[in-house]
């Protein structure tokens, strides 16, 4: 078995299992925590507040939008472009099709490149903001840097293998993907799933109290 076969085969299955089980365990654990009992009569719908809280946070508020425009632009740019790369990159679709038989239309190569440019620009801007802003530095842990650098390396090795000229480059990319999947549930990368719960929790609490978000 070659190294490429190993990282695309057994190691990938193991990493994917850790990822799925870890994410499920964490999300279910958070849901099972429930909420504190509120004996006051509800003045609004908690469920509607949950949905509204999630949607409302997608749109920045006026004064904050002006002050944090860089964070907003870089944050949206990175996350949307990364999602596009992962789910619409031709190589990724081919890989998923090989595993599951599922397939869908892929981005053209130029589209992939543009999305990669946006994703890299966003990630670099977010990271340098983290080290440049004194407040951000105060609330940043080593784990945040590790998550950022690992994500950057996954993206970078993927793009370095774009020419598809050497199997070793693809193997290095897959190795970083496997490490990323294993690291994901135990890191702040979990925010990809938990943001729904945290926003929803705040929204539900406010919604029950009848607060207009």
């Amino acid at each position: 078995m070659s190294f490429l076969q190993f990282v695309e085969g057994p190691l990938f299955y193991a990493a994917a299992a850790v990822f799925l089980l870890g994410v499920a365990w964490k999300v279910l654990g958070l849901i099972r925590l429930g909420r504190r009992p509120d004996l006051a009569p509800p003045k609004g719908s908690a469920a509607w507040g949950f949905i509204r809280g999630n949607l409302r946070h997608f749109v920045p508020r006026g004064i904050f939008a002006r002050r944090t425009w860089l964070h907003i632009v870089a944050g949206y740019g990175f996350h949307v472009a990364l999602a596009v790369l992962v789910f619409f990159g031709a190589f990724h679709i081919a890989f998923i099709e090989r595993l599951t038989g599922l397939s869908w239309p892929a981005l053209p190569r130029w589209g992939f490149i543009v999305a990669a440019e946006i994703a890299f620009a966003g990630l670099i801007a977010l990271w340098v903001r983290r080290i440049s802003d004194p407040v951000m530095r105060q609330i940043t842990r080593g784990e945040d840097h590790a998550s950022t650098i690992l994500t950057f390396l996954v993206m970078l090795t993927g793009c370095l293998a774009l020419q598809e000229s050497h199997a070793s480059l693809r193997a290095i990319h897959m190795l970083f993907v496997d490490i990323w999947l294993i690291y994901f549930p135990f890191s702040r990368l979990m925010h990809a799933f938990t943001f729904v719960l945290s926003r929803g929790h705040s929204g539900a609490t406010y919604g029950r109290k009848g607060i207009n978000l």
Partner: protein
């Protein structure tokens, strides 16, 4: 059938081979007569063959340049033969001139020429000079910086830190700077691998590893190139204010930036910082434009622009990398308190007094030195 060799020095041959050198017995009389006729026939054939040779030779061999031409010289051969031209002359015709003629080297494909040979000059320039010597510039700067650090040491604040700070760069300016720094470092590493992989990596790590690294570096370089343009524009917008040259900068130039101990007054940016800013902007613009041309070669039909683009791209990049090493040194371990400006956005007041005293006075309204009356040089 065994073939007999001429009877010459059989003693130098091994014994088993000497059989071939044994003398033959004398032939009979009839055979000798036959040989005589054969010899005569061969002689007659040779005479008939060689007689028209001078005529044929004159049509295919070019006479020397100084040779006299005779009025009765034969006519040149038909159009599809070499005629009186040498190979070199024919190639010069195809090229449209001599390859040693600068007009041919740098001209577009000359009229009537079938091919252009500017690629040869470009290849020689790239392989024999640029690829060979480009790496020495950054290496030389590193050596100089190490020597400077060992001999003179870092520039310490004479009065230490005051504990009071002044705001120097906004958050977006700092992010723009670090964004450029990250992209620049990624481009520099990948670019140096592409440029120097063959002479520096392949001989030591092998061609296969060099091929993998170069392929990866090329993809990365092409990917981060457009981000460099974005970073360049962002840097320009955030830093152009305060970076225009001013007559006051002449003092900095005459005193060599205080290299030999003389204090040099400075505004928000001194002459060295301004020069670095404009170098990044202008050389960076050349690098960006040449990079775009290499990424999209169909933008031009003229091969010379692409060749020029590769040369300018490399030379500009090597220049920026070399100077950036000095910038990194002064901004980190070379000067106490410098890094604060880009990490925290604030600098210690004593740092401002010592290195940018006019800016300090503009910011605080107080004199930077005790012997100066208040606000003496605070005018913008």
């Amino acid at each position: 059938m065994r073939q007999r060799l001429p009877f010459i020095f059989p003693e130098i041959l091994p014994p088993e081979a000497r059989f071939f050198c044994e003398k033959s017995p004398p032939p009979p009389v009839g055979a000798r007569t036959a040989r005589l006729f054969a010899l005569l026939a061969l002689l007659a054939t040779l005479i008939c063959t060689l007689a028209p040779a001078p005529l044929l030779a004159q049509s295919s061999v070019r006479p020397p340049g100084a040779a006299a031409s005779f009025p009765d010289a034969p006519e040149p051969g038909p159009a599809n033969t070499l005629g009186t031209r040498s190979d070199a002359e024919i190639w010069d015709m195809i090229r449209g001139g001599s390859p040693r003629d600068p007009g041919v080297i740098f001209a577009p494909t000359p009229e009537g020429a079938l091919m252009t040979t500017t690629g040869q000059q470009w290849r020689v320039l790239r392989e024999r000079y640029i690829r060979k010597y480009a790496g020495w510039a950054p290496l030389g700067v590193i050596v100089l910086l190490v020597l400077h650090h060992l001999i003179r040491g870092p520039m310490r604040l004479k009065e230490g830190r005051s504990g009071k700070t002044l705001p120097r760069f906004t958050l977006t300016a700092r992010v723009a700077h670090w964004f450029m720094a990250v992209v620049f470092i990624l481009l520099a590493i990948s670019g140096l691998i592409i440029l120097l992989g063959r002479p520096l990596i392949a001989p030591y790590l092998g061609r296969e590893i060099n091929a993998v690294l170069t392929s990866a570096a090329m993809q990365g370089h092409n990917l981060f190139g457009p981000l460099f343009i974005l970073a360049l524009l962002w840097m320009f917008v955030k830093f152009v204010a305060g970076n225009f040259f001013h007559p006051h900068d002449l003092k900095w130039i005459f005193r060599l930036g205080g290299l030999f101990g003389h204090h040099v007054s400075s505004r928000k940016f001194n002459f060295g910082e301004k020069t670095w800013f404009w170098m990044v902007m202008l050389v960076g613009a050349v690098i960006a434009a040449s990079g775009v041309l290499m990424l999209f070669p169909w933008l031009t039909d003229d091969l010379r622009f692409l060749q020029l683009a590769t040369v300018l791209h490399v030379l500009g990049a090597v220049l920026l990398i070399s100077v950036a090493l000095g910038h990194i040194y002064v901004g980190t371990i070379g000067m106490e308190g410098s890094l604060d400006s880009m990490l925290k956005g604030e600098v210690d007041e004593n740092w401002a007094k010592e290195h940018h005293d006019i800016w300090y006075e503009q910011m605080t309204g107080k004199p930077a030195r005790a012997d100066e009356p208040e606000g003496e040089e605070a005018a913008p």
